[in-house]
């Protein structure tokens, strides 16, 4: 378990303001945010490399804010793996044992388990210079887990890897996390990694935390326009709320609940917008006629830009839907979305 209470840090280039965060034992937590948001500074403060100005860091209930890095029980894996180049793979993995009194049998078991899980049995005698990116990162993981830290910090552990190695290390991370009671805290840029691995997440911006919560909550219910923008919520509009409805350009949206104050923002994920040729008669409360402005291929999907009531919406559809509906630029189409798909903030 790691708990951060009102942490503030002032460096020349960065500062963290009043960070509070609580991560349960054994959780897999993701820390998101744009470059320069302060994610790395926060990690370094946890490890003990950056002096804390005010606030506390607690590991398993023990205040470690003033302890030396080696006494905190927090491990770290960097994106560039940082293996010790003058040691073999095995020496790297066993490095932490020089400084910890651990029972010999336990050590042996853990070493064997890690070597097996991370498929490092063939590599133990190699020097690190001869390893591939994926191998380097596997050794770094084994080295960090060998001392059984309470918390393991992962600083973009997959970003330096070729995309075809990423999947492999990603499933390893998943497996390793399930097999230990170590708390994992991962900084990443890749939403796919977050969605695949993490249970909860926090989004940082300008040295403070914008939102903490379940991963699905962050992606589906962003609480600020920054988070919405950051997680790729494309349809964000300023609106005037009136009771359970909201006025947006020429159209009136049904919220199915009371809106915020009189003014605010609302957001709809492109995936949540249904496109059709005829007006849908269903439980969907909001359905509007519009014109298709643009059709753009986006990976395996198509991004459709529509204009309805003076407002430009973005929707995401599959290829088959595109053809079945015969969507064409300049042609009319209906767009519909459930009241529950509208996020207000």
């Amino acid at each position: 378990m790691i708990k951060i209470e009102n942490l503030s840090i002032n460096l020349a280039e960065f500062s963290l303001k009043d960070i509070s965060l609580s991560i349960a034992r054994g959780e897999y937590f993701a820390l998101l945010g744009p470059t320069g948001a302060g994610k790395t500074v926060l990690l370094e403060a946890m490890v003990g490399l950056v002096p804390v100005e005010s606030g506390k860091i607690l590991v398993d209930g023990r205040d470690v804010s003033d302890l030396a890095p080696e006494k905190r029980g927090i491990g770290i894996v960097y994106q560039d793996s940082c293996l010790f180049p003058h040691m073999t793979v095995l020496e790297n993995i066993r490095y932490g044992l020089h400084f910890k009194k651990i029972d010999g049998n336990e050590t042996k078991n853990r070493l064997n388990r890690l070597l097996n899980q991370l498929e490092l049995n063939q590599l133990t005698k190699r020097m690190t210079i001869n390893l591939s990116g994926g191998e380097l990162q596997r050794v770094a993981l084994a080295r960090a887990l060998m001392v059984n830290p309470a918390v393991l910090l992962l600083d973009e552990p997959l970003s330096a890897l070729d995309p075809n190695f990423r999947g492999e290390i990603q499933s390893l991370l998943h497996k390793l996390h399930q097999d230990t009671d170590t708390t994992f805290l991962m900084v990443t840029h890749d939403f796919n990694e977050v969605l695949s691995l993490a249970g909860r997440a926090a989004v940082m911006n300008h040295g403070s935390i914008e939102q903490v919560g379940d991963v699905s909550e962050i992606f589906q219910k962003p609480r600020s326009s920054f988070v919405a923008d950051f997680v790729g919520m494309k349809n964000i509009f300023p609106v005037n709320y009136q009771g359970t409805s909201a006025r947006l350009g020429n159209i009136e949206l049904e919220l199915g609940r009371n809106g915020k104050d009189s003014e605010g923002y609302l957001a709809i994920r492109p995936e949540d917008i249904v496109i059709s040729k005829e007006k849908l008669s269903s439980s969907i409360r909001n359905s509007f006629k519009g014109i298709v402005l643009k059709i753009l291929k986006q990976g395996f999907h198509y991004e459709i830009t529509l204009k309805a009531g003076g407002i430009i919406f973005t929707a995401l559809v599959t290829k088959s839907a595109l053809f079945e509906l015969g969507l064409k630029e300049g042609k009319p189409a209906y767009l519909s979305f459930k009241a529950t798909a509208i996020h207000t903030f």
Partner: protein, 243 residues
């Protein structure tokens, strides 16, 4: 290129083999060269002992006035050589309190090996510190961070990670310092004309007997420098691999 090479090659080939052999048998020459190597080695040892922690500090820590400290470290490089000698004499001379203490302890700087070593340490230290500082800087602090997060203390980390990885830089630094010390003349000649180190001997021969008689000794000394230098180059060669 040619500008640098021609004078050296010309000098190396000028003296006859007989002349060289004669010089190599001359007891004064051998004594002077030996003294040069011996004092340069001592100065490098001092630089290693005191300069290494200092270089590490400069490489890893940021503190107000760091630029100033770095400037002071570099100072001996730009001070004219005879001035270095005069400055050191000013401190260790009998009309300075420090010189008096030394005098009462029976340590004489003027015209002694101790004086030569002091001067050489003064001129060689910046070369050692700068080389080793660069060496430390090229080692990612993340390696040290990882080591500490694995339970190693600051000191264990230094001896297990930083020092072994900087080994090559430290060796290069020692050789740089040594080479600089052997080449020094202007500062030493002020503090200690006797006992004679090799450059002073060469100078004396040149003044007393002319170019021809100084060349054989010069060639011998240059050969020693070149061997040191060769070491330096060989050591710095395979450094290309990334750490």
């Amino acid at each position: 290129m040619a500008f640098i090479l021609v004078p050296l090659i010309r000098m190396m080939t000028a003296p006859s083999f007989e002349g060289l052999k004669g010089a190599a048998k001359d007891r004064d020459v051998i004594k002077a060269i030996w003294l040069s190597i011996y004092t340069a080695g001592l100065a490098s040892l001092i630089a290693f002992l005191f300069g290494t922690p200092f270089a590490y500090l400069l490489a890893r820590k940021n503190f107000p006035g760091k630029k100033l400290v770095e400037s002071i470290v570099d100072l001996p490089i730009v001070i004219p050589h005879p001035v270095v000698g005069i400055a050191i004499l000013g401190v260790v001379g009998k009309n300075c309190w420090f010189g008096k203490i030394l005098y009462e302890m029976g340590i004489r700087m003027m015209g002694s090996v101790a004086g030569i070593v002091t001067v050489l340490t003064f001129v060689g230290m910046p070369f050692y510190i700068n080389t080793v500082k660069n060496g430390f800087e090229s080692i990612s602090p993340r390696l040290e961070n990882v080591s500490r997060s694995l339970g190693a203390s600051l000191i264990s980390t230094f001896f297990r990670i930083t020092f072994p990885l900087a080994g090559r830089s430290i060796l290069v630094g020692i050789i740089m310092c040594c080479a600089r010390c052997i080449s020094e003349f202007g500062a030493v000649v002020i503090v200690a004309y006797h006992p004679m180190i090799a450059p002073v001997l060469i100078y004396e021969r040149f003044e007393a007997y002319g170019l021809k008689y100084s060349q054989p000794v010069a060639v011998l000394l240059v050969l020693i420098c070149l061997i040191l230098f060769l070491f330096l180059r060989i050591l710095s060669m395979p450094k290309k691999k990334k750490i």
